[in-house]
Symmetry: C2
Subunit: 163 residues, 2 copies
């Protein structure tokens, strides 16, 4: 029996992973979300080899996840910093989801080492409560379980035959 299914390669998950799925990429984004900006900061925080860091940053800049901005400290020459674009900051939910998964299934016996809190940049309100990622449908049903959900073809779907 031949059945048509959504082409697994024509899928935003695959495309997303081709940008941020390489080793180190998401960790670089994580550090950037946590305030790292300079080559040396990424290098010393992550322990990544310098050449790899250079090529990863270049890849991320090319992909539009980060931006290379010149800066100059007084009495020093011009250097470059790397900061997230809006596109890069939009990876936050992905990282929170990974963090939660890791906390749940690969936890340190002591408990999580990082807690994500509701604390806006302008600290005014500072709710500070822990943040979780939840699945929510357009009809307002929230906190959906992983199995309450399925994949369906969208407008850009390509199909492949399979047996």
């Amino acid at each position: 029996m031949e059945t048509r299914r959504i082409d697994p390669v024509n899928c935003s998950v695959a495309r997303a992973l081709s940008v941020v799925g390489e080793r180190w990429s998401l960790l670089i984004v994580r550090e950037a979300l946590d305030g790292a900006r300079r080559f040396g900061e990424f290098h010393s925080r992550l322990g990544i080899a310098r050449n790899l860091l250079a090529t990863r940053l270049e890849t991320l800049v090319t992909a539009g996840v980060m931006r290379r901005v010149p800066y100059q400290e007084p009495g020093d020459r011009q250097r470059f910093a790397y900061e997230l674009t809006e596109q890069g900051r939009a990876l936050r939910p992905t990282l929170v989801a990974l963090l939660e998964w890791g906390d749940t299934y690969l936890a340190d016996p002591q408990g999580p080492s990082v807690i994500v809190r509701h604390r806006p940049v302008d600290d005014a309100s500072s709710c500070d409560e822990p943040v979780k990622v939840v699945l929510e449908c357009a009809a307002g049903h929230s906190h959906l379980a992983p199995d309450d959900v399925c994949r369906t073809p969208g407008p850009g779907a390509r199909f492949v035959e399979s047996s």
Copy 2:
């Protein structure tokens, strides 16, 4: 000025990525969430090399993301299928987050190829509305923006010195 910061290596994101951060791993989980169970299904859907698929499946089984279950079709010998454990199904939010990010920033001109819908396994209610991933804090503030959120040390935090 010396400052203490959360050790970036002692972090659930890094641990999670050490399990599902290798090339193909998340795509294998995605196909499994979409119903793939057999070696040949993963192979033909993803186009991954057979040996790599074998080692990735083994890694995922060892990590507790998948389970190797024997099955036997009538008039055939015993074979093995691979199915997600609860731990594996818990990667759904991560994949939905990646999908959303890819849809937003790397979209096909035609629109998304996949839409995740609220449709439980027992199709009874079948709300069917599209599903999104949202950040929500314990105080009930929902739909937090990426910048409304920050990382703080948890009980298992280790610290490193940095300049």
